[in-house]
């Protein structure tokens, strides 16, 4: 019984727990939406990992990326 627990149940439990944790933290892992002002297309939404704090402005090509469609909250590059 003890051998069965360690060989089968414990690994199964570990896998179930890992999969459950992956689903539980799915939102934390997803990107946020950033916005930039394209001169022709207007305000465009893009996925971004840029945080709200930092020193170097987050850029999409040559355009600065913001957190909101109103382009008031700048985002920054993630340097570590």
């Amino acid at each position: 019984m003890k051998a069965k627990f360690f060989k089968l149940l414990l690994p199964a439990f570990a896998i179930i727990m890992a999969v459950g944790m992956a689903f539980a933290t799915e939102e934390a892992n997803s990107t946020q939406t950033g916005y930039y002002d394209h001169p022709i297309l207007g305000v465009q939404a893009i996925p971004t990992d840029c945080p709200e704090t930092g020193q170097v402005l987050c850029m999409e090509g040559q355009w600065q990326v913001f957190k909101d469609p109103a382009l008031t909250i700048p985002l920054y590059e993630r340097f570590e």
């Binding site: 570990a14 896998i15 890992a18 944790m21 933290t25 799915e26 934390a28 892992n29 990107t31 996925p47």
Partner: protein
């Protein structure tokens, strides 16, 4: 006798923790494959291979999980774990050494770690895998 006791706990424990890690990170990547691919495309030196890595990385992690769960191939799984974690760690160090912004393509809550903390995290698991490999080899001799 003591060595046998250590083997009985260290190798299965290390294997189980590695299974937990790889299943978690692989599932996190597979749940949002588009995001993972997008992040790979932002990473220096990896963007050209984003299509391949998008599937290759989680597939490798799940394959290693399978090896670790099988008593017959567990040692091979430990070697593969050590190698894969080593590759990840070397890449992180290379990115840190460059002056490139660093979006994280890590799985799940590991994304919340800074890159330096991520190196320590990987290092700890590598040490654990290495210890289990050494103990496994000692036991088979």
């Amino acid at each position: 006798m003591v060595s046998k006791k250590i083997y009985r706990t260290l190798v299965p424990t290390a294997s189980l923790l590695l299974v937990l890690l790889f299943v978690y990170t692989a599932t996190s990547k597979l749940l949002d494959l588009d995001t993972f691919k997008w992040r790979l495309a932002q990473m220096p030196h990896l963007s050209a291979h984003a299509d391949l890595l998008q599937w290759g990385v989680p597939f490798s992690e799940l394959t290693i999980t399978g090896l670790l769960l099988s008593p017959k191939f567990r040692t091979l799984g430990l070697y593969a774990s050590f190698a894969l974690l080593g590759l990840f760690t070397i890449y992180i160090i290379a990115v840190l050494a460059s002056d490139h912004p660093t979006p994280c393509s890590c799985g799940g809550i590991i994304s919340t770690l800074g890159w330096r903390e991520h190196i320590l995290f990987n290092g700890a698991f590598m040490l654990m895998a290495l210890g289990a490999i050494l103990q496994s080899r000692r036991q088979t001799k």
